[in-house]
Symmetry: C2
Subunit: 190 residues, 2 copies
Amino acid sequence: MQLKDLIFRTRSYRRFDGAHNVSYPALESLIGLARLSASAANRQPLKYLLYNEPEDCEMIFPSIAWAAYLTEWHGPIRGERPTGYIIILGDKSITESFSVDHGIAAQSIMLGATEIGLGGCMIASIKREELRKTLNIPDRFEILLILALGKPVENIIVDRVKGNDIKYWRDEKSNHHVPKRSLDELILKL
Amino acid sequence: MQLKDLIFRTRSYRRFDGAHNVSYPALESLIGLARLSASAANRQPLKYLLYNEPEDCEMIFPSIAWAAYLTEWHGPIRGERPTGYIIILGDKSITESFSVDHGIAAQSIMLGATEIGLGGCMIASIKREELRKTLNIPDRFEILLILALGKPVENIIVDRVKGNDIKYWRDEKSNHHVPKRSLDELILKL
């Protein structure tokens, strides 16, 4: 698949087929992509926790804040929740500054997920102390991002930003609309 | 190309064919990839400056710190310097916090560069105030990353990390070696 198509299909999905299991080898293969991605000063301070067991997924779910702009939606209902998680940690024994390594790694992982028929959402809005306790994550690791994964069941439509309103929204048919700024707005001419 | 190959080929190149021009439409197409990539809360606060004219490239070059681990190498010689630049800015009128948006965008751009036969390096080690003056970048924009681009002329070999030494190095044939940590080291089992 051309990269443009892959990126276009890599939307932030928040509703999944709860009956579709994400396999552990699939999660491992995604970390293989992150492993070969760029890292500031090649330090490679990121570590990964992988989860695909239903009971683990159930434990992780409450630590996530879902879709801030959809104020009447409190996250996916049972049966539409993520069936796999990758938690990206920063290993403070290597460096205290993770730069944008986790952004780079997360993009590699999410593109890889699309390629194998999965999808998901990068989530930085995390109840970190709650999650740390739930999963017994040692203090040595900073919790950077959660990637919630599964087989998406929602339709996402990319719109143009109108005015300056970048809030995503759902229409009456539950299509999820994401307004994106135009190329003209993004490329500055000084 | 499969994503795994694309990522494997997306190395951090620092030596280029100075006679190969990066076209402006190519740079624009790369921003098209960044445009459709994820952004925290969909704010899309990143803006981009694109340069492919030789005199602009020459102006930008001195603001970059090259390859910290190669202490005896002060950056590419004339004739091997980048022939295109994308400067990623954060628009503070949209948000003061750019999260990992620039990491995500930079990875999309660098993968896209590989796909069209280019390569380059994400650089965060920037003489920011010097660059701001040189290019007249208004204070409203934070200088986040420089992506130095061109047609690579160096051979990069991915090795395994030995001991804990992650420093890249050059062998006597000028091959650039990059030690990467093993998957076993990256995936934590708590």
